[in-house]
């Protein structure tokens, strides 16, 4: 039988690296979002997609706070990603603040802050069986 706890721990460590890379990518789009026009829209779409990715993945891998910060940014970017209009100064300020917040939250994470980290295989399997019952 597979060591489920070990599989999870390795995934959590890998995911933490992915989160940091994704946040760096979003940070790299920050200035372009403010340019407006086609460039700004494309940057907003990319950042929206990355924030969406963080919101869904981080929460499922035990990083609830990261997921919430990603979701907040995703919601702020959605109107820009789905519409033809550019961001107004208030939206831009909010987006910058939410990127700062997401970056801070991600950089504060360690593998052990995941709610799934360090769980023993038998405890995980027993928990799953209880959910089945």
């Amino acid at each position: 039988m597979a060591d489920v706890g070990g599989l999870l721990d390795r995934l959590i460590e890998k995911h933490l690296g992915s989160l940091r890379a994704i946040v760096a990518a979003i940070r790299g789009l920050d200035v372009a979002i403010g340019h407006g026009g086609g460039e700004g829209r494309e940057a907003a779409k990319k950042a929206f997609s990355l924030a969406h990715q963080i919101a869904g993945a981080a929460g499922s891998i035990g990083f609830a706070e990261v997921s919430l910060a990603g979701r907040a940014l995703e919601q702020e970017l959605r109107p820009l990603a789905e519409a033809d209009s550019g961001a107004n100064p208030q939206q831009l300020a909010s987006i910058h603040a939410l990127i700062d917040r997401l970056e801070a939250v991600v950089l504060a994470q360690r593998p052990e802050t995941s709610s799934l980290y360090g769980r023993q295989s038998d405890a995980l399997q027993a928990a799953a069986r209880r959910r089945e019952a």
Binding site: A2, V4, L7, L8, L11, K14, H15, S18, S49, H52, Q53, A55, G56, A57, A58, G59, S60, I61, A64, S67, R71, E74, L116, L124, Q125, A127, A128, R131, E132
Partner: protein
């Protein structure tokens, strides 16, 4: 007939892996993983899943288009298809059900609860369509 084989379609590798761990290692299910709608359509040429779990936001072919194409195959017409998505506002969930989805699981999901959630949807679907 119990749920045995699941096809999971998801473009994000870490989500695929956490779902695989949940369904295979914790849930004891057989799982085939696909990274895109196109890959899923190719995979169902050779395997017959009991249930399909489908992401919505994917590049190239999104989940709803993948759903339509899978559902258009006569051999999959009765196969339950469940969306697993972060796009789960009320109006979006309503759209998935109107499309014919057997259920919607919201991301982020609880990996420990996922096998039980899928089996419950499978059982509910059996009540409607029968599973042999």
């Amino acid at each position: 007939m119990p749920l045995e084989r699941v096809l999971y379609v998801e473009d994000e590798p870490d989500i695929r892996e956490i779902a695989r761990i949940a369904l295979v290692e914790l849930g004891g299910l057989n799982v085939d993983l696909c990274a895109s709608g196109g890959e899923a359509l190719a995979t169902v040429e050779t395997i017959r899943p009991d249930l399909i779990l489908l992401d919505v936001m994917m590049p190239d072919m999104d989940g709803t288009e993948t759903f339509r194409r899978l559902r258009g195959r006569p051999d999959l017409a009765a196969t339950p298809i469940v969306f697993m998505t972060a796009r789960a506002q009320d109006h979006e969930v309503r759209q998935y059900h109107e499309l014919g989805a057997a259920g919607v699981i919201t991301k982020p999901f609880d990996p420990i609860a996922l096998p039980a959630q899928l089996r419950a949807l499978w059982d509910a679907s059996a009540g409607e369509h029968g599973h042999g």
